[in-house]
């Protein structure tokens, strides 16, 4: 009996001594929510952290403040030679251990991206077990520090919800994509395609012209902006729009929101988006369509010698949102008019976007994933080096578009004017 008691006691003591060593009370940690990375001035990198302020709240105050409401955030910017060095330096002035489990965005400035320093900088981050590989990665147009500082909850108090929902808008519009640290870091070394990352920027309202001649009947493609260029005023200070295109770990170009959608369509990742195209019969007026991907695109790749040929057919379907002209397009005879017009539009734009990427020699369309099937061994494939042959590829596109529903109206009628206005 004594022996058994001794054994049990020993077990308990061992547990007590060895058990708790890495236990950390949640209130002893500073939970970093955003990381911003710029080129430094006093040192190689300038790292910015954003974390919630350690304020007591909840039911203690009699003022009826709801628990969790009214969170405040603080930022800290440090120049350091590397990420790990920045961490250590941060702990010299923050009274809590930094915790990266809950990082929402890693924001990297365009400077760094263009200088090809991303690979170097991300190396310690991806090895750090406390940073999730699924953290979203953004490329900030100007200063990442500024972006991190100005990213504030809009219409709410919770910055994490803001970040989550902002990224979720990618699915609603297709104007950017939901891309993670994994997408960038893993694709850097991929022989199949080149990485992309979401473009982000602080919108200072520079494109918003207060006074000037009023808009005429010109036509602008929706979402054809880079991040930070949307003509708007107020709202949230930041925006995500378009994609950055990388060659290896060097950023070489950008895609607008519109081009991002086309890219999504070609990859089969497009969920839905609204398009406004000129009315085929009265080009000064618009037709609004909500477009979805009907099924995954058909991609065929074949080779003639070293030269690759790609045929891409995408299938779209959609609903009519509005027909401003009042022309009765809803009949089975007239629907194809809109369908063909939209197909031509998409085909033209797609060709432009593909050409743009070919000029950058970056296969962001993932054609490589189909091309690889033509090779018998992975060695042959790697020897062929798809990424450098992409610019030579001849790419044929085809678009198929069907209108499924016409909204709650099955008949458009013209607006009636009285008297001489006719």
């Amino acid at each position: 009996m004594k022996k058994i008691v001794a054994v049990v006691l020993l077990c308990i003591i061992l547990l007590m001594l060895a058990g708790c060593y890495d236990a950390r009370d949640i209130n002893d940690a500073a939970y970093i929510l955003l990381i911003g990375i710029d080129r430094g001035i006093s040192d190689k990198f300038r790292v910015t952290f954003k974390f919630p302020a350690f304020e007591a709240g909840g039911a203690q105050g009699e003022g009826g403040e709801s628990p969790g409401g009214g969170l405040n955030y603080k930022t800290l910017t440090i120049d350091a030679p590397s990420f790990s060095a920045a961490l250590e330096l941060a702990n010299t002035n923050i009274p809590r251990t930094l915790d990266f489990m809950h990082v929402q965005f890693i924001v990297i400035s365009e400077d760094i991206a263009k200088a090809g320093l991303i690979g170097e900088f991300l190396a310690p981050i991806v090895r750090n077990s406390s940073i999730r590989y699924s953290t979203r990665l953004l490329i900030a147009r100007e200063s990442a520090a500024e972006f991190v500082e100005l990213l504030e909850p809009f219409g709410g108090s919770d910055i994490t919800r803001m970040c989550e929902n902002l990224i979720n808008q990618a699915r609603e519009t297709g104007l950017f994509a939901d891309l993670t640290l994994y997408d960038l870091h893993d694709c850097m070394t991929s022989p199949y395609h080149q990485p992309i990352a979401v473009l982000a920027a602080v919108n200072k309202g520079g494109n918003f012209i207060e006074k000037g001649p009023k808009w005429d009947t010109k036509y602008n493609i929706p979402g054809d902006y880079y991040a930070g260029d949307v003509p708007r005023k107020k709202g949230s200070k930041v925006e995500l729009l378009g994609l950055a295109v990388f060659n290896g770990d060097r950023m070489v170009g950008k895609l607008t929101g519109h081009e991002s959608r086309l890219l999504a369509m070609a990859k089969g990742a497009f969920e839905k988006g609204t398009y406004t195209i000129p009315d085929p019969k009265r080009p000064e007026l618009n037709v609004d369509l909500e477009v979805r991907e009907a099924r995954r695109p058909d991609i065929k790749v074949w080779f003639e010698g070293e030269k690759p040929f790609v045929s891409l057919k995408i299938y779209l379907e959609g609903d009519i949102h509005s027909i401003q002209s009042g022309i009765h397009y809803e009949t089975p005879e007239m629907l194809p008019v809109i369908e063909r017009a939209f197909e031509r539009f998409i085909k033209r734009e797609l060709a432009k976007a593909i050409e743009k990427t070919q000029q950058l020699n970056c296969d962001v369309f993932h054609f490589g994933h189909t091309a690889v099937k033509k090779f018998e061994t992975i060695q042959e494939w790697e020897a062929y080096d798809w990424n450098s042959h992409y610019k030579d590829a001849e790419i044929y596109t085809e678009v198929d578009f069907k209108i499924r529903r016409t909204g709650t109206m099955i008949y458009s009628s013209r607006i009636k004017y009285s008297g001489e206005d006719k």
Partner: protein, 616 residues
């Protein structure tokens, strides 16, 4: 390491003492019916009966009577007592002499007693001489010191000397006053009696009582008297007549207090053994329902009844239950709660190995499943054995409701058990080790709420859990009216004020509350108690080792539970070991698809009838 594990497992495995087990088993084999009579000498010796004293006094009285020719019983006792104190030494001398010439004829020393009477009384049998019997009874019950025992002397039909013995308050007065004494005393009733067995005549023609028994052995008569039966001794009869006259104050049948159901019978067991048995009989109207009554407790000898279905319950199980009950060496068994502790397989295990219920319908369903139900006098809770973990989580309502509802409430209950045992531990693990698992917005609000709390989470959790246990225990102990107020005050003060004072965070109140509610869901009180304790174990494991600790804790608990047995049936029976089982464990099926008993019960007749019991 295996050695350490074995040592730990050994610690939790109960092994009966070796000599205890074998000796008792043999003892039981040799004397199946308790009152064979062979053990009376030993019995009497242990009770320290002074034979010489009894015989001497009876003898004295006999001589006196013979001399005087009439009876003066009232004075005789006192007189005899007086003489005895003075004659202790001669008694010893007589005894010694007695031993020397055993064969020489014992009766020679007794002037007025027949040899046969002396032999009878020495063997614990009723003597035909009434004075001997009277003295024996007086000795056994310490009359007149013991004032509860009433010895009523009278003459049967004005001729034969007789007396009644009963315990005051345990019997129904009207039975004695109206149906026994008047009829025995009435000479008219004995007109036709000429010669022969007077006891037989009394039974057949005189007493109008529904149940009377003739018994020779004192070892059976005395317990019956203590149970409230009246014993009639008549001069010249070497038998006593036990007259069923039991009638004591008892509680009426009320709704069960601890096991409430919405749909189902609202009768509960009471403290009265007979009532409880009748409640069971009312539900199971089968001639195969067997009731065996065994006395328990070396000193207090309360009755407990084994109830089982002869054609269903495993005979070996019945044997085992009987063996355990007979071999209880404990002076005072008060109620089923104590009996449970004396019967269970492993006293060191946390989980109950016997299920107790207050509901006759539930007990009846146990009987139907092939379990043995033990009804104990003086307790409204009956026990059923063997039991598995799943029995403890069932409630009689599960089967009374349609199977969809039954399944739903049963699932709720399982979730309740998980919540009650694990939630505080998981919380500890989450906030100490795994903050990455908390959704960020929730984490931020927790941070904010905990910011003003000066204690580590362990202290916070223990503080609240202990406070909660206090409220719960206090709520049970305080008188009814204050009880509710206490609950409210406890909840208000400890919840609201503790948060306002910055002692604990609001989220912890939710944790403690949901744990408490989860615990209330458990239908079995013993299991609920076990889960209350298990909760602290998981708090410790969670605080020390996080999720890893909780999984280690779960494994340890599961291993121990697997090794547990209740009357030979593994505690997690239909799952480990896996047997063909009744589907009525967690999910329920429509009734017509369900088997009543699982294979692990090893019942005599299985539903299919294709599998005869082993060895038959």
């Amino acid at each position: 390491m295996p050695n350490i594990l074995r040592a730990v497992i050994d610690l939790f495995t109960y092994k009966p003492l070796q000599k205890f087990a074998t000796e008792e088993y043999l003892g039981e084999e040799s004397q199946p019916p308790k009152n064979g009579g062979g053990n009376d000498g030993q019995d009497n010796a242990s009770e320290g009966i002074d034979w010489q004293k009894i015989l001497k006094q009876a003898d004295d009285k006999q001589v006196q009577q013979n001399n005087q020719g009439n009876c003066r019983t009232a004075g005789a006792g006192g007189q005899a007592n007086g003489t005895v104190t003075g004659t202790v030494k001669p008694t010893v001398v007589i005894r010694r002499r007695n031993r020397q010439k055993k064969r020489a004829g014992q009766s020679s020393q007794w002037r007025g007693l027949e040899k046969r009477d002396v032999d009878l009384i020495k063997n614990g049998m009723v003597a035909s001489n009434i004075d001997v019997n009277m003295e024996y009874i007086r000795q056994r019950f310490s009359v007149p010191k013991n004032q509860d025992i009433v010895i009523r002397e009278f003459n049967v039909a004005k001729r034969l000397k007789a007396f009644l013995v009963f315990v005051d308050g345990m019997m129904d007065k009207t039975v004695i006053n109206q149906f026994v004494l008047p009829q025995l005393m009435d000479e008219g009733n004995f007109k036709e009696f000429s010669q022969g067995d007077v006891m037989d005549y009394i039974i057949r023609n005189v007493i109008s009582i529904y149940q009377v028994t003739r018994i020779k052995e004192y070892s059976r008569i005395i317990p019956q008297i203590l149970n409230g039966v009246t014993a009639l001794f008549v001069d010249g009869c070497s038998e006593a007549l036990l007259i069923e006259s039991r009638g004591f104050e008892k509680r009426n049948i009320e709704a069960p207090r601890t096991e409430n159901v919405i749909r189902g019978p609202q009768e509960g067991f009471t403290e009265n053994l007979r009532t409880n048995l009748s409640l069971l009989r009312k539900i199971i109207k089968s001639e195969n329902l067997i009731t065996e009554i065994l006395p328990v407790g070396n000193k207090n000898r309360i009755n407990c009844a084994l109830v089982y279905l002869d054609d269903t319950a495993d005979p070996e199980l019945v044997q085992e239950v009987k063996r355990r009950i007979r071999n209880i060496k404990y002076d005072f068994v008060e109620s089923s709660g104590m009996l449970e502790q004396l019967l269970e397989d492993n006293p060191f295990m946390l989980f109950p190995q016997v299920i107790s219920t207050e509901r006759p319908d539930r007990a009846a369903s146990f009987i139907m499943e092939g379990q043995v139900v033990i009804v104990c006098e003086g307790s409204p809770f009956v026990m059923a054995v063997p039991v598995t973990f799943f029995h403890l989580l069932h409630s009689s309502e599960d089967t009374m409701l349609r199977w969809q509802y039954g399944t739903f409430i049963r699932l709720t209950r399982f979730i309740g058990v998980l919540i009650a045992s694990l939630v505080p531990g998981l919380w500890m693990a989450l906030v100490q080790f795994h903050s990455e698992m908390i959704p960020t917005p929730l984490l931020l609000s927790i941070l904010k709420m905990r910011e003003a709390v000066p204690f580590p989470v362990v202290v916070e959790v223990l503080l609240m859990e202990i406070a909660f246990e206090l409220i719960r225990e206090g709520g049970i102990r305080v008188p009814g009216l204050i009880g509710q107020t206490l609950g409210i005050i406890g909840a208000l003060i400890l919840g609201q004020a503790a948060v306002a004072a910055g002692l604990v965070s609001p989220i912890l109140i939710i944790i403690v509350a949901i744990t408490g509610i989860g615990n209330f869901v458990i239908p079995n009180y013993s299991l609920a108690m076990a889960i209350r304790i298990v909760r602290f174990f998981f708090i410790f494991m969670g605080a020390v080792l996080g999720f890893y600790g909780i999984s280690v804790g779960l494994t340890i608990l599961l291993v121990l539970t697997c090794s547990m047995k209740s009357f030979g049936v593994p505690f997690l029976a239909p799952f480990t070991p896996k047997t063909r089982r009744s589907s009525d464990l967690i999910l329920r099926k429509p009734l017509y698809k369900e088997l009543v008993a699982g294979d692990y019960m090893d019942t005599v007749s299985r539903r299919s009838g294709l599998y005869p019991k082993r060895g038959e």
